[in-house]
């Protein structure tokens, strides 16, 4: 395996640190015990200490911290709560009409996002793929990626400016003799606004992986179906779409996994008490009950419920896709 020979000119080499164990162990990599691994690679393991600490403290401790959903919690007390209270908080939210309202809203917004924001990048990528002039294609790509790089606060700000009573959208409505609409204050507009701004922000960036997959499709396949007399549409249907299917399925699974989480930050920025009836989702309700009203256990119970649904969704989507189309994340 090691083809290189000791090549350092004599005298210039650093003396090897005393404790840096020689890697002779590599000769018999079969079954080295932990002790030997530690002795040989302790420097590598030492590099992993701080990152592991990060994961344990900031990722795994909060997971365990979810026990406060079943325990009484006092602000300033232990992060794991004071005493067991069983399913009290679960029963509480199951009997809370607001919970069911935000649950419905979450399904609505998540469903609409999946329905619209998932296919748009595919269509856009197919259209871009048909562009012959490389410079033109590149220009359209660069422009359409741009919104992805902006802060969500800026996207929300721009959305509101566009929809303001003096903004361009109402200006356009004015041309058609329509009275200005107070979009941001009207509950029936919220879902449209949310999905619209989501498409504006993510559609371009979402094409990247599809465009990459499109370049990997073998040109010979197109040639073959063309000889069989396939027209453009049939080529897309029989060659292009099957070619990007693994990418589509992977992204679909990921989208289903984040279904319940919906764009929490965007909703938080765009909604207001007037639009709560359609805009308030589980995550924003968790935020308000926990951080604003200090009902930490209650909010944690709802949050845990949401996370578990998310995990179940992504696992079952993954299983289903592994069985049916043979593509899966793990």
């Amino acid at each position: 395996m090691s083809t290189s020979t000791p090549s350092a000119p004599p005298g210039t080499e650093d003396p090897p640190p005393a404790r840096a164990a020689p890697r002779r162990g590599r000769r018999d990599p079969a079954r080295t015990g932990w002790r030997r691994a530690l002795r040989r690679d302790w420097q590598l393991y030492s590099l992993a200490v701080l990152p592991l600490l990060f994961f344990l403290v900031f990722r795994y401790l909060p997971m365990i911290g979810n026990v406060i959903a079943f325990r009484r919690f006092e602000p300033g007390g232990s992060i794991f709560g004071e005493e067991w209270v069983g399913l009290r908080y679960v029963q509480m939210f199951l009997n809370d009409p607001t919970f069911w309202q935000v649950f419905r809203n979450t399904l609505w917004i998540g469903g609409l996002t999946l329905l619209f924001c998932f296919p748009v990048p595919i269509v856009l990528a197919l259209l871009l793929n048909e562009v012959r002039r490389r410079s033109l294609k590149r220009f359209v790509q660069s422009v359409s990626y741009l919104p992805h790089f902006l802060s969500i606060v800026i996207v929300a700000g721009i959305t509101m400016q566009m929809l303001a009573s003096d903004g361009p959208v109402n200006h356009l409505l004015g041309w058609f003799g329509h009275d200005p609409i107070r979009f941001i204050q009207e509950p029936e507009w919220f879902r449209t606004i949310y999905v619209g701004s989501e498409i504006w922000q993510t559609a371009g960036w979402g094409t990247i992986l599809y465009l990459a997959a499109l370049t990997t499709i073998d040109e010979d396949l197109y040639e073959a179906v063309r000889i069989d007399g396939a027209n453009r549409w049939q080529q897309i249907w029989h060659v292009t779409l099957p070619g990007i299917r693994p990418t589509m399925v992977t992204l679909l699974i990921l989208n289903i996994g984040t279904f319940m989480a919906v764009g929490f930050e965007k909703v938080l920025l765009l909604y207001n008490p007037l639009t709560y009836p359609t805009a308030d989702v589980i995550s924003t309700y968790v935020y308000r009950s926990g951080v604003e009203s200090n009902s930490f256990s209650y909010a944690a119970a709802i949050g845990l419920f949401e996370a578990i649904i998310g995990l179940v969704l992504i696992t079952s989507a993954n299983q289903l896709s592994r069985r049916t189309v043979g593509t899966s994340l793990w």
């Binding site: 000791p6 350092a8 080499e13 650093d14 003396p15 640190p17 840096a20 990599p29 932990w34 690679d41 420097q43 590598l44 393991y45 590099l47 990152p51 592991l52 990060f54 994961f55 403290v57 900031f58 401790l61 909060p62 997971m63 365990i64 911290g65 406060i68 856009l124 259209l127 359209v140 660069s142 422009v143 359409s144 990626y145 741009l146 902006l150 802060s151 606060v153 800026i154 929300a156 700000g157 721009i158 400016q161 009573s165 003096d166 371009g204 990247i208 992986l209 990459a212 027209n231 453009r232 996994g257 930050e265 207001n272 995550s283 968790v286 935020y287 926990g290 951080v291 944690a300 996370a307």
Partner: protein
């Protein structure tokens, strides 16, 4: 090549129109916001501003420039971005390097510990309780530490390290360099491209972030500029329960928002043309492995 049929030429025409519309719809809001930021209050109120400023009025910029809170928050954004990116780079690089060593015992477990957090997280409330109990509230560590490693970036970097030829490292090892020495003097100089990409990924995301600050910082003096902007926006929708920074400015409303939007996105817009391709290649690299 078969000569294009008439229907295909029609399709090309339609495609051109659709893509032009995509470009226009994407760019128009930016143009409009810039036009608004330079327009007169009356012209904005009347809905006259579309592509070009109407009633040219740079005074809104002066008002924002004179607001010390704006500058303070802007400075905070710079500080938080630099510190958080530095912390994130150190932790991510170390862990990615460890994970890239195929022979390492327990490597699978170390990868699993990271990847599992992509699919299941503790959630808002336990995180909030944790950060509060650690005493990190109202410090910049509340922003830098809880988001120090993005698993996606970690996997991108790991994939890159794995693609480096092993011979160089082996030679360096025989020359007596320690693991730290190899990482610093051999691997990182060979990885300038991926390091630059990761710095960009992290700094853009920290520059843009607002929620950690909104959640964990209490005083408006500590806020990054994104929260400053958020307070302006929320003041506009809820009829003015925004922060103190907003109060003295509320009379000029819409322009202020436009100006702040322009000034906050300016750094991103300036570097965007040059860094865009790094982002694209980074995402591809991550997609192959992730």
């Amino acid at each position: 090549m078969v000569k294009p049929s008439r229907s295909y030429r029609v399709f090309q025409g339609v495609n051109g129109v659709v893509l032009t519309l995509v470009v226009l719809v994407t760019l128009y809001p930016f143009v409009n916001i810039i036009a608004r930021s330079f327009s007169g209050e009356r012209q904005i109120r009347a809905g006259e501003v579309t592509l070009l400023p109407k009633g040219f009025n740079p005074t809104t910029y002066e008002i924002v420039f004179q607001d010390s809170m704006f500058w303070r928050n802007y400075g905070n954004t710079v500080l938080y971005t630099v510190v958080a990116t530095a912390v994130a780079m150190v932790l991510t690089t170390c862990y990615a390097y460890v994970l890239s060593k195929k022979h390492l015992k327990g490597r699978g477990l170390l990868v699993g510990i990271a990847v599992f957090t992509m699919f299941f997280t503790g959630g808002l409330i336990p995180n909030y309780v944790l950060v509060t109990n650690l005493g990190l509230k109202n410090t910049l560590w509340a922003i830098a530490l809880p988001n120090a490693i993005s698993v996606f970036n970690l996997l991108v970097m790991k994939a890159f390290f794995e693609s480096l030829p092993g011979e160089l490292e082996e030679a360096a090892q025989i020359d007596g360099l320690s693991t730290y020495g190899i990482l610093l003097r051999i691997v990182l100089p060979l990885s300038k491209a991926v390091v630059a990409t990761m710095v960009l990924f992290y700094s853009v995301s920290f520059w843009n972030s607002w929620f950690s600050a909104f959640l964990y910082l209490d005083s408006s003096e500590l806020m990054p500029v994104t929260v400053y902007l958020r307070n302006l926006i929320s003041g506009a929708t809820t009829g003015g329960n925004a922060g103190a920074a907003d109060a003295q400015l509320s009379q000029v409303g819409a322009n202020i928002q436009a100006v702040t939007i322009v000034l906050t996105s300016l750094p991103i817009l300036c570097v965007y043309p040059f860094v865009q391709r790094y982002f694209v290649s980074g995402v591809m690299l991550g997609a192959v492995k992730g």
